[in-house]
Symmetry: C2
Subunit: 573 residues, 2 copies
């Protein structure tokens, strides 16, 4: 289990601090992660890797000449926020565009995608290369749905070497996508891992069994198999990978035998002694194979085997030199120091409008009150949310909600105290929420509050119709980003009817004003939330929580109602 | 726990096979371990590291330009045999002598010491540098009794860099001894580790506690302390080391924060974020600190902190470049390929005389019969020996005995079938026993049987007095090597009286001949063994086993009686 930590919630940030202290010659800590100290003269396409923490040396250990330009560091097993990815992208870029690359997980896809949009809005071309190497996570016919695991390493390396060679953004992306299309990994899990401060494992593997294809966050695999000696393990892994050998592969292969945490090097060497002959017998030429810890999962026990089928280009990229804190190949040459300070200063100066007039500041105080009420309600429900989430997911929903709301509320209070208007306060709250809640849902709420704020601005008292329009903007942001529709059993099923009713009630000029409209909308949303919860029998206990969304008439309660609707986790997955 | 293995008894050999396959560009597997592929033109002092397996990257991961010339690889947590150390020393040397360097454990001291003697007998100067950095294992006033743990890494590096710079044997040893005298480590254990194939951990740490100073094989530490957050851990470790800051240290320090196996890099970085500031506040200048896994202990949970107080020379040696499978610093230049093949052929050609005349071959058949009887008796007693050993040691005595005898008997049979005489058969049995039993006692029996064989030669039927003299030679070898005397509660307490009586009975020409003399001697030995066992109440159960040494009249039973006497583990520790 994980035994070294101070405040478990700050584990990732503390690890970055120690890492950056130790490797100060190669990397520099910046908001959101780390960037490398130097790059080739004249700039290059920036390759920015990232994802949740707990996978060292992925991702920050792979920053340096010949490898990544920056790494975005999320909380443990949690996607970094959009703001983090944007920040690292901005600070790592050197004028020729940015490639974000990461394993295929919903939260990462969303946050890196949004960060890319923000970079594009700044005039910095940004692209995405999503790694999908885990053959256990979907059929070959649906390869794009596969998760990314240790194959990350080879795809990152291909992208990085292509960028280091001076290719343009299209060329780098093409090389990375080719590497991904030719990279296949199968995992074998022996035991789960435990979060800092947790009493029980995040997931487990049954005694006497091994989880074939079990994901590095405990996601479902193919099946449990009985424990077996090393030669049988080697056969199992090799056969599974050879079954997907692509047409045209000439046998040259980059191979990684990866330890997941508590499976040690000598064990990996024992397994390698059986894996290597099987691969060679199958006609493979093993090009600079790697046996070690490249993509881990805290102290999880297990291994994964990765094969990337090389062609001339990929072989050269695989063999190019690199120097990073965790991994070296050959000798890299020097480069220019990056000038992060100026970029950092520019970044801090850019922001959405925040200063409010008197009326907007008054409305902003109501927003803060609404957030405070939402925060209190979710704190009370934290355990319950976790239990509900454990049915379909990893049980951290309550924790993520609390962390996001605590930081969102604190940021909103600070913003209001500084005299910001409604847009400023909602944006500050949304950004902090997304950053600290992490994962898929955090980014949805963050983007939603940002969108609502943009609609309301920082001047005047919002009219009832403005509030309804802001709610619509919130809803649209969620739908666009989450790629979900009404009826998909997501939080939209409660928020959608709420917004519909609120719009109608305010557009018709109902005599009760916003208060009445709000109550009517909340009542509908409540029933919809309960109905959604009922669709998933195990989360029927969401009812009492959904019911709390009724009866809060303040404009500030926009955020309250939306938060609580968002808290129904029925079908986040 | 350790989950990847084929035959658990062959774990270390299998790991070497996979390792050498993977890192074929840097190392080559040879009998006993690995040697590096290339060295500077003109030869150099060879630095040969080693010890038991389970500590990767110690020891084989540290072979390569700028670091070790060879690594001797024992079984898990078990000293390599003399033959292994000798073989690697011979194959790693390039004309300027050999330094064996390893942590301070009795079996290693004995086997590497004997290997050095063999090298010296070959005309190859050989020296020993024993690492004693573990401040928890003895008081500062008895620094030479301290165990060696992660400080190995710094001492090895100093020796290796000095050798690479071309210093002579004295100069290299002086640099290594200085590094050792200025190196201090304190460990903190969170959880034990499990051997390949074992159902239960090799040792454990109580729930809610951490073992301060607990050894990497589970040896006793200073005390158990309650679990604590990272800042308190950092304070505990730093304070303990700063307390031993040597006079004259100017504050420059090589520092290692080492993970023991399942304690992962991100945890180490969190701890480093607290350790580094404390060290700097104490006035230290941290020179190229290392945070990672450098000396592990299978999947043990825990950390250790090492400080080496540098001077100008040690700082240069610490910063010199090195390239090994597990660790790199800077860029090393090329070198000459080592020509191991010729050396290996020479080594194979050298051996003790083995061919026997007809009479000696007949006597050799009796030796084999005696070994077979001893093997059967010890197989039967394996569990019992393990239980007795668990009182004072690690409980592996029965397992080691069985493994040693099985291999010894097989080697003896093969030798007898090949027509070897008594000396040849006893030497073959002794070498095989020492290699496969491992540890302290394995080497004693191996050396004893070798010595007995040398006294008996390969010609003629041994007379009764010759057998007695051979037993005396066996006894002397044990006493010299084990540095024990009668009354120390070692196996000498049974074997000594046996030899005394046998000598008297054969010298007086007792009418019963060797048979009667043997029975009288065995009777005395039996009573002595029981008496010795009685001195340690927990091993009183050794009696039935000791009693089995009575009544075996064949000359071949020399080995039987001595084996069984050796099997009383009362005070191996």
């Amino acid at each position: 289990m994980t035994r070294i930590f101070d405040d478990p919630a700050e584990f990732a940030a503390d690890a970055v601090a120690g890492f950056a202290d130790l490797h100060a010659g190669l990397v520099r800590a910046v908001p959101g992660g780390v960037v490398r100290r130097s790059r080739p003269p004249g700039g290059k396409v920036a390759v920015v890797v990232g994802g949740g923490s707990g996978h060292y040396p992925a991702f920050m250990g792979l920053v340096g000449p010949g490898f990544a330009d920056g790494a975005v560091v999320g909380n443990i097993f949690t996607s970094p926020s959009t703001a983090q990815a944007y920040s690292v992208g901005r600070l790592a870029q050197s004028g020729r565009g940015v490639v974000f690359t990461y394993g295929n997980y919903a939260g990462d896809v969303m946050n890196f995608g949004l960060a890319g949009e923000r970079l594009e809005a700044d005039g910095i071309p940004a692209r995405q290369v999503v790694v999908t190497d885990d053959v256990a996570s979907a059929d070959a016919s649906e390869g794009h749905r596969r998760r990314g695991i240790a194959g990350d390493f080879v795809v990152f390396k291909a992208l990085a070497a292509a960028a280091e060679r001076g290719l343009d953004l299209d060329g780098v992306v093409r090389a990375g996508e080719k590497a991904n299309a030719r990279t296949f990994t199968i995992g074998l899990a022996f035991s789960g891992c435990t979060f800092p401060g947790a009493d029980t494992p995040h997931f487990t593997v049954p005694d006497g069994a091994m989880g074939l294809g079990l994901g590095i966050h405990g996601e479902p695999g193919l099946k449990d198999v009985p424990t077996m000696p090393a030669p049988a393990m080697a056969r199992l892994l090799v056969d599974r990978l050879l079954a997907e050998r692509p047409a045209g592969a000439d046998g040259r292969a980059a191979v990684i035998l990866n330890g997941l945490g508590s499976t040690k090097h000598e064990e990996l060497f024992v397994l390698w002694a059986h894996v290597a002959p099987l691969l060679r017998e199958a006609g493979l030429t093993l090009v600079a194979p790697e046996v070690g810890e490249l993509v881990t999962s805290l102290d999880m026990g297990g291994v994964s085997l990765t094969v990337t089928w090389l062609d001339d280009e990929l072989e050269e990229l695989w063999l190019d030199p690199a120097t990073t804190p965790a991994w070296r190949r050959g000798d890299t040459t020097g480069g220019d120091d990056t000038d992060v300070d100026q970029e950092l200063a520019d970044l801090t100066a850019e922001a959405v409008p925040v200063e409010g007039d008197a009326a907007s500041r008054e409305a902003a105080a109501l927003v803060v009150a609404g957030l405070a009420a939402a925060t209190a309600a979710v704190h009370e429900a934290e355990q319950e949310l976790g239990r509900m989430d454990a049915v379909a997911g990893d049980g951290d929903h309550g924790r993520g909600m609390v962390r996001g709301l605590d930081h969102g509320l604190a940021a909103a209070r600070q913003a209001a105290d500084a005299g910001w208007g409604v847009q400023g306060v909602l944006t500050a709250a949304g950004d902090a929420w997304a950053e600290h809640a992490g994962g898929t849902s955090g980014v949805l709420w963050g983007a939603g509050l940002r969108a609502a704020g943009a609609r309301l601005g920082n001047a005047g008292t919002p009219a009832a119709a403005d509030v309804a329009a802001a709610c619509r903007a919130y809803l649209d942001a969620l739908g666009d980003l989450g790629k979900a529709s009404l009826g998909d059993k997501t939080l939209l099923d409660a928020a959608g009817p709420f917004v519909d009713v609120l719009e109608r009630a305010t557009a018709e000029g109902a005599s009760g004003g916003l208060g009445d409209a709000w109550r009517a909308a909340a009542d509908v949303a409540d029933r919809a939330a309960v109905a959604t919860a009922d669709l998933v029998p195990q989360v029927g206990r969401a009812r009492p929580l959904a019911a709390r969304s009724v009866g809060t008439p303040d404009p500030g309660a926009v955020s309250f109602a939306l938060c609580v609707a968002a808290a129904v986790p029925a079908a986040r997955h």
